[in-house]
Symmetry: C2
Subunit: 366 residues, 2 copies
């Protein structure tokens, strides 16, 4: 219809007011009389006018967008954090610009473009270590930076104590009487600073030492972060025969799934022949009845993003640095109590075409 898109000027003209007034209305200023407010509002409505983001960004000097750097986004734990972040930002009216980082080159490239083009007002880093020199630069430009699942002095962050978590997991197995405890973890990814697995390994060693057990590096294995790889590694450990571990601490639930699968194929009974504990408390560990260390994944994203929102509002992030609590969730894979499916949460009813569980409560409300 109209060749030229309608702008604030159009609205001002139509409403018979100045552009300043329209702008005030748009930004919810109280410096506008009841009457003009109404008139402008109805004109906006009638013309179906919406302000252009980039114009107001330029003028205001901010983008109302936050950049999110995510390490290997496909990992369920990372995903859960991301969801928390996105939801909070969304509610705050901020755009979530997501960057997937799978290697150091990508990290550098994305950081450059984000920082230098000032396309976002703030940066949230998930499970990623930002290189020192970048941090310095970000600081100099005074761009808010929040770390989720990572911690650095003087920087707002939400994190857990992976060392402690690894210790807790190992102590759980020790408390069950195990002495030959294996560890299966991720390859070190120093390029991305994903140190969770190695930190949990450190906790594993500490727990062993505290129990007076000499660590046996033949029981330690690392590989890519996949169930398949973990299964292969577990199988390799089983080859030790008599010297094989009676329990395995897998540094994540994804790995634990592979370990359990491998045990089944080798006809090792869980947990009698092999006890297993994972880490993260993913949905899969609950359904497969895998003992694990629970960490608040979604919450970490929510808290991290909340800090960002505060910072962008010129406030100070309340708890500047926040450590979330961990707790061991003992299940069948170590205790041997066959965990039942939590039917209590669900009410099965007769639906129009078969049985049905209606959503609500724990689930989405449609």
């Amino acid at each position: 219809m109209t060749k030229r898109a309608i702008s604030i000027a159009t609205v001002a003209a139509e409403a018979g007011v100045g552009v300043g007034t329209v702008s005030r209305v748009l930004n919810g200023s109280d410096q506008v009389s009841e009457a003009t407010l109404k008139r402008v509002l109805s004109t906006i409505e009638r013309l179906d006018y919406r302000p252009l983001r980039s114009a107001s960004s330029l003028s205001k000097g901010r983008t109302d967008a936050v950049g999110i750097l995510v390490s290997v986004i496909t990992r369920p734990s990372v995903m859960a954090r991301l969801v928390g972040v996105i939801d909070v930002l969304s509610d705050a009216g901020l755009d979530a610009v997501v960057f997937n980082v799978e290697n150091r080159a990508q990290l550098d490239r994305h950081l450059s473009s984000i920082i230098d083009q000032r396309r976002v007002d703030g940066i949230i880093s998930i499970s990623l270590r930002i290189p020192k020199e970048r941090i310095a630069r970000i600081r100099k430009l005074s761009i808010p930076l929040v770390l989720v699942d990572n911690s650095l002095p003087n920087l707002p962050c939400v994190y857990i104590d992976d060392v402690e978590g690894g210790k807790m997991a190992t102590e759980h197995l020790l408390s069950l009487g195990h002495r030959r405890i294996g560890f299966i973890g991720d390859n070190a990814r120093s390029d991305l600073g994903m140190s969770a697995s190695e930190n949990r390994y450190a906790g594993y060693l500490m727990a062993l030492e505290a129990a007076g057990i000499e660590p046996d590096f033949d029981l330690v294995a690392r590989g890519p972060h996949s169930s398949e790889a973990a299964a292969v590694l577990a199988s390799a450990l089983f080859e030790l025969r008599k010297r094989r571990p009676t329990a395995i601490f897998a540094s994540s639930d994804t790995l634990a799934v592979g370990v359990i699968k491998a045990a089944q194929q080798h006809r090792h009974k869980i947990p009698d022949d092999l006890a297993v504990i994972g880490f993260d408390n993913l949905e899969v560990s609950s359904i497969l009845d895998i003992s694990t260390v629970n960490q608040p994944l979604l919450e970490s994203g929510i808290k991290g993003a909340s800090k960002m929102v505060s910072l962008l509002n010129g406030e100070i992030a309340k708890p500047h640095r926040e450590q979330l609590v961990l707790d061991v969730v003992p299940r069948g894979s170590s205790l041997g109590i066959q965990g039942n499916i939590p039917t209590k949460l669900y009410g099965v009813v007769e639906g129009p075409h078969g049985l049905q569980i209606l959503q609500g409560g724990e689930e989405l409300v449609s």
Copy 2:
């Protein structure tokens, strides 16, 4: 240091040229002499200048960002598509602005802000049906729109034939001699237009009919999209005793996991007492040896985003509408052949501190 941020004018002044020239350099115009190019470039370098996104956006009339509407982002299948989309956009220098949609209200809200504030140049919708009136509006504003895992006439999209997929899965079970085949799927989410599960159900019915089998609605159950819910529903089906299904088609692998868990708890041997097939071919189905229908998830994201890139370049999306192929992946949960862990892909070596699978090939290269 400098109170005023450095702008293109600063650079121009410092380099002793006009802003136009600097702009040309920035945008890689060939209308610049070798000498000036060098001078401007070095000035930019020296001043550490980077153009401001929002300013160029306003001027150019585009944002170089793409909005991605994602239905219930946590679902692994959705995630995989999203990763494909983000990676392609990233490579094309486009920002990926992600919106998580969990209900109709959110869908409306996000669509409004995206469309009306023109904060993005294009929209990619993943596993989501955009309401008719919105489509009309998007069309009128001539904002490129690409559908991933969804299809609508006259719109560029990447999709699969879920009905056919459901048929294939059911036929697989029929070919194994099963006659009492159950179906476990998602609750209909007409608000978000997530019709995959219902379409697969339609295929299930078609396959039964083609085999001359009267559908038994007692063998059909629906619930929230979680393993737990599926386990509860499967347990309910087992209560039918003699009339219980000998095979179950779960409309996704996530549900299939729950079904298998429930079967194990009821001491039903897989696949002798109960055969199971899922859908999606997620990693979990491979490790748990679950038969499934493979669909190219990552690829759907890649292809969808590629179409968007084409559209934004003023080209026409090559295959306007693209249907991806499905194929049944028979595994132990229906065939009963104990699938082995694919060790061939991995080489276990002695690492510095225990065994190790080095990454590469199928895995990330660090």
